[in-house]
Symmetry: C2
Amino acid sequence: MGLDSFSKSKRSDEISNAVINRLPKYYRCLRELLNNDILRVSSKELAGLMRTTASQIRQDFNCFGGFGQQGYGYSVKTLYTKIGMILGITDNYSAVIIGAGGIGMILADNPVFTKRGVILRGVFDKLKKYIGKEINSELTVRSIKDLEQFLLTTKIDIAVFVDYELTKSCVDILLRNKIKGIWNFTGHELRDVDDTIPIENMYIEDTLMTLCYQIKQKEE
Amino acid sequence: MGLDSFSKSKRSDEISNAVINRLPKYYRCLRELLNNDILRVSSKELAGLMRTTASQIRQDFNCFGGFGQQGYGYSVKTLYTKIGMILGITDNYSAVIIGAGGIGMILADNPVFTKRGVILRGVFDKLKKYIGKEINSELTVRSIKDLEQFLLTTKIDIAVFVDYELTKSCVDILLRNKIKGIWNFTGHELRDVDDTIPIENMYIEDTLMTLCYQIKQKEE
DNA sequence: TAGATTGTTAATCGATTAACAATC
DNA sequence: TAGATTGTTAATCGATTAACAATC
């Protein structure tokens, strides 16, 4: 069928960040199509949704070997599944959240992890007012003092940093226990962490500032 | 002094997004320096903090006319102030949040607006359980029904979208009342909004997915 | 078969890096 | 003045777009 052409895929570490960063957006657009029961899409149509060019879309997908069929286009379902696989959604990574205040609780009690195939295993804080608080039927906020003990029995892949001070106090423990990635919401550069594991920084404030810049520009 | 060279600045709409998106990071790094009482920095030193090249830094700053002094480097304070001005931090834009659930409340009760010179004027929802809830001494969650009336008396520049359904029901009202920008946390593409005003999309889930991808890569 | 649309190569465009003259 | 470091031009690199042959 030409749709299962994973075999043709090139060495994956050659793929540029520009492409990788577009994959989640493809994933979103394809889900929109699925929700509307659209089963087939051409690069041109998808380009409309993605606000990019058909050329870029074909170029992007070919990094992974090409998922389409000449004269037909792409199967939305196949494409959605393949991109999900590439993104690691089926890999069931596990995570802990460091910091139960602010955005910590929101993230903990949010489908974002489940929806993207990540299993939240624990939430930690040092403040009495948070410790023991129930997040859902399966999770309760634990004391940061118990983190190391916890990591001995539970394999954790991803640390989600919410509270900067707390992060500083336990980043070594987490690295020592071989976490594989960091999702950083602290708003601070994590200068102590060397580049051996991937970090995704969520600088929420930054985007508010670029928005203000753009508004300013429009006005001038 | 060569430090007040705003006059030399080129036509601002020529400046690429790549540069603009780095400005908030410069702003953060410079604040770090200020906090450590470092008053002077060379492009080479700043490159270390920014994890980029000295060349890029000089190139970037020259988009705005150059803020440095040959043989000396850059005044951290001047640089910080200038970049803040470019980003519109001194412009006192006003904002409303649409959606008091989830991240809405967190954003509302968060220094992010104040710190970046944006004044939060209102939070709106349609659910009884939120309406009337106090955010701080100055703000209470209002009914979405009162939004249009509110906009007649209060000039709003930025709409922060948190709840997608709520957004759909009031985006027209906001556009009609001439908001200037959108900060979108709904996780959905805003297809109804044409490109006349700037939008900053916060796709939080996307970054979790790219993080998982990178972890996956490292493992192979 | 003819039409459509991909996969892929080649051309263009833009962003980053290197180099160096200007100057504090 | 000599040393340092910027501002700016030129060279390189990478990403996007265009074009078209392959093929369903």
